[in-house]
Amino acid sequence: MSRPDNRPATRERRLEAPGTSGGQLAWLVASILLAGAPHLLHVHPWVPVVVGALLVWRIMAALKRWSLPSAWIRIPLTLLGFLGVLFSYRQLSGLSAGSALLLIMAAMKLLETRGHRDRAIVIFICYFLLFSTFLREQAIWSGAYLCIGVLVTTAALIEISRYGPVIPAPTAMAQASRLVLRSLPIAVLLFLLFPRIPGPFWSLPHAGSQAATGLSGELNPGDISELALSDEVAFRVRFDAAPPVASALYWRGPVMEEFDGRKWTQRQTWQGATADRRQATGPAIGYEITLEPHGQRWLLALEMPQTWDAPSARLGATGQLLSEMPVVRRLAYHGTSILGGRGNQDADPALLDRDRLLPAIGNPRSIAFGRRLRDSVTSDAGYLQKLLQFFAGERFYYTLRPPSLGTNPIDEFLFETRRGFCGHYASAFTLLARAGGLPARVVTGYQGAEWNPLGRYWIVRQSDAHAWAEVWIDGHWARYDPTAMVAPDRIEYGFDAAMERRNETVGNPFAGNRLLMRVAMGWDAVNTGWNRWVLSFGPQTQSTLMGFMGIRHPSIEHLIVTMAVSITGLLILIGLLQRYRTRPRPDRLIAAYNRLCQRSARIVRCRQPAEGPQEYLLMLCEQRPDLADELRALFDMYVELRYDGIDDKRLRRRFLAAVRAFRPAAA
């Protein structure tokens, strides 16, 4: 007996969890590659090899229809991977070990992708790989990479969740972008309002690749020439009011007081000593510094700092701002300073004596020269004046490429080579001041700043690094910058201008080309926005934001309530919007046609349900020849729109208008 032969034409595909199709596998592999790529250079070289081999195995298995390995093979392989990571890294939890483990897990999981959940887990591991990229790198490009990564992995998630053939990649990408775009408002609200509880809850892994850049904490004349060549941004500044003139912008960093004849270093005995900053007088300048991480404890500030809001920072005895922890993340803080402030005026005499110390050996000529010069003048101030005149009068040259100096570097510099950089001048000046019996020290930091008109802030680059001297005179520390004597425009106009005269342009590579300069500045502004609003977003920014909404001192409860209310509101809004946008809409064309038929019914009779427009029209025209032309035009338009597959918007509008205007008189 045969089946009834009028079987419906249904597609017979049962939903027994089908295996992973080739297209889905391609998406999974692409996701692993994309999410894993940033890690490849940071893990042990065997990891990419193993991951690649596993991927190739899986792809070959799909192409050659090999069966996938059983648990007897997979579990030992997985264990081997874990042991390999443990052996190479001696741990499983660090950043590199973690990424290596994730990569291996993703590739191993790919070997057992039978059902939807297995495939989804591969994608989730990819999300995690993307996430861990940020523990290593937070630059703006990594944000862009994230967006692409999330798009592709989400499209992959769409594809692997399907039964049946994969949809074309552009369609999947379009669906994924729609999802991502619609989720942006939720993400932004959560980002802004989710209470930031200061971590860490467990120890931070070492970010191995992040080497400390910037001032080095010691000064060996000639060292700074390397920094001067670096165009990297040291920090960015926004002034509360009008900025001071460029020549007054001395950003104090590490202060060196110990000199062994070759090298200046920071004194290790400053613990506990805190400068009394109230004794500085003069108008205060307020500014906000966004400091790039440099891995050291010092913070930069204009001389002399009065207030600062960097957490757990204090002012050392040398007037130097110190953070309790090394700055490993971008740090924003607000400070006020009094320019030309005189620092602490009742310094410890014992400490002052240490600042008069001359190295036990070396540089005899310089010391003798200093003593001679001191004896020739009556006052300490006169002596320092003489020293400055010495640097201005003699044929000293300012250069980035000073000759190397031997065992008595200051002697060689002052009396033989006479070519040097701010570090040379500062250390020579300080040594001479000490030779004259004055307490003196070398201050390193940055001088000047570059205005970014697009972002409306100032940039201080590593090439602005500078060194100068401070001398204790008349009961206070005074700044002396011998470099200014040699190349005054270096101080007035910044580093590039000084170099330009000597055709040694370094620093901003686009200096001189206005357009490129603008592009470079624009890019820096974008970067700063990223830093300001994304990377250094935190409790402070949140309370500012809440301030805008009228909540002055927000607590965590405030944030949670605001977040809950706004997210709920947003979700309801999305729901309503979706309902509105997806409501079944009556076809306006059909509605208009029905209206046309209703009005025509006044002429003779209603259109019968089975009657087509042409038939009905013929009947109408027979009955009312006087209306024939009008009717024919109307019905022809409808037929054209409805059956000819022409979606002409203008014709459509004309038809709708004509139907509205059509009011036949009853027969």
Binding site: P8, S161, L179, A187, F191
Partner: protein, 330 residues
């Protein structure tokens, strides 16, 4: 673990189904699946996703990593939006029952449905069918209708009630599953399974063997009558059809010899199901033979007649014969 999950699913699943049924009542044969009857829950993949995102949140908090927060919240947003997309993929779909055909016991009955999308957006990856076994309807463009058959094994004769159906989707990310239960009051007749062959009737029977091809009166033309479904094509009066456009059937004298009576009492077995099975076979054979035939059952007599309608009436009578009592017995 899985066993527990299954137990929980069974207990709560049944309660949920009963609750939904009370809530919805019986669905009309043409139903709009409005949003209030669409349920949505995370899948296991969705739960894993939530755990992953939560771990990311902890990581971001620990490292105070704002880009990490950004990714975490973006993924949170994607998860939430996928709820909406999943739900709206199912909401306001129209489901129309489009008919079914009687089958013989042992075959599977196909209930035909039409899934219609009247909304201005496309639907994807709809799964429709049994609660345990569905078919996929991949894409349903705006305004599109697609046929979907629900195949149900008819194991025994009688009335086959359409079970509770399921329309579900996991689109787009497989993190959530939206579904709705459909309870339509639809039944189809399942004819008894025909016996392989039926023995000749014993001598006392008034007619001849129902399997007999021979009809002595075949050659004696008696007149014309209008066509009925099931009439053999060779009896169509083709000349008349060509001339007038009317489909007429030539009838021949067969006399009482041509009339076949299939009689309950004639079957050589006392077993009800076997007897029905034999009768079914005879009905099919008699209809195939082309002559007029009738069926005598205790309490009712159908025919004599022939054609598809007659055949269905007889088979239905056999299918439903004492069907309710039998159900109670078993």
């Amino acid at each position: 673990m899985n066993a527990i999950a299954q137990r929980l699913n069974e207990t709560f699943g049944r309660k949920a189904r009963d609750w939904a049924r009370r809530r919805q009542g019986i669905d009309p044969r043409s139903s709009r699946l409005e949003s209030r009857r669409i349920y949505i829950l995370p899948t296991r993949a969705g739960i894993i996703y939530a755990v992953v995102v939560f771990t990311m949140l902890l990581g971001s908090m620990n490292y105070n990593n704002n880009t990490g927060f950004a990714l975490t919240f973006l993924l949170t947003g994607i998860g939430i939006i996928s709820i909406y997309h999943c739900h709206r993929n199912l909401a306001d779909v129209y489901l129309h029952f489009a008919g079914s055909q009687p089958v013989f016991a042992g075959e599977s009955a196909v209930f035909d449905f039409i899934i219609e999308n009247r909304s201005p957006y496309a639907r994807a990856q709809l799964r429709f069918g049994h609660e345990t076994r569905q078919e996929i309807c991949d894409v349903l463009a705006p305004g599109e209708r697609q046929r979907a058959g629900v195949r149900i094994d008819a194991t025994r004769r009688g009335r086959l009630n359409l079970p509770r159906l399921l329309l579900a989707t996991r689109y787009p990310l497989g993190l959530f599953r939206a579904w709705t239960w459909i309870n339509m009051d639809i039944a189809e007749v399942v004819y008894p399974q025909p016996a392989r062959s039926a023995p000749f009737y014993t001598a006392h029977h008034n007619g001849i063997a129902a399997t007999g091809k021979r009809s002595p009166g075949d050659d004696d033309f008696s007149g014309l009558r209008t066509y009925r479904a099931g009439d053999p094509p060779k009896r169509i009066a083709w000349k008349i059809l060509a001339r007038t456009g009317d489909t007429l059937i030539s009838e021949y004298f067969g006399g009482s010899d041509d009339l076949v009576w299939i009689d309950w009492c004639d079957e050589p077995t006392r077993d009800l199901e076997k007897r029905l099975s034999l009768l079914t076979r005879r009905v099919l054979d008699a209809e195939a033979a082309g002559g007029a035939w009738g069926l005598r059952l205790p309490g009712q007599t159908i025919g004599p007649d022939h054609g598809a309608t007659h055949r269905h009436r007889c088979l239905q009578a056999l299918a439903l014969y004492d069907a309710d009592n039998r159900r109670n017995d078993s």
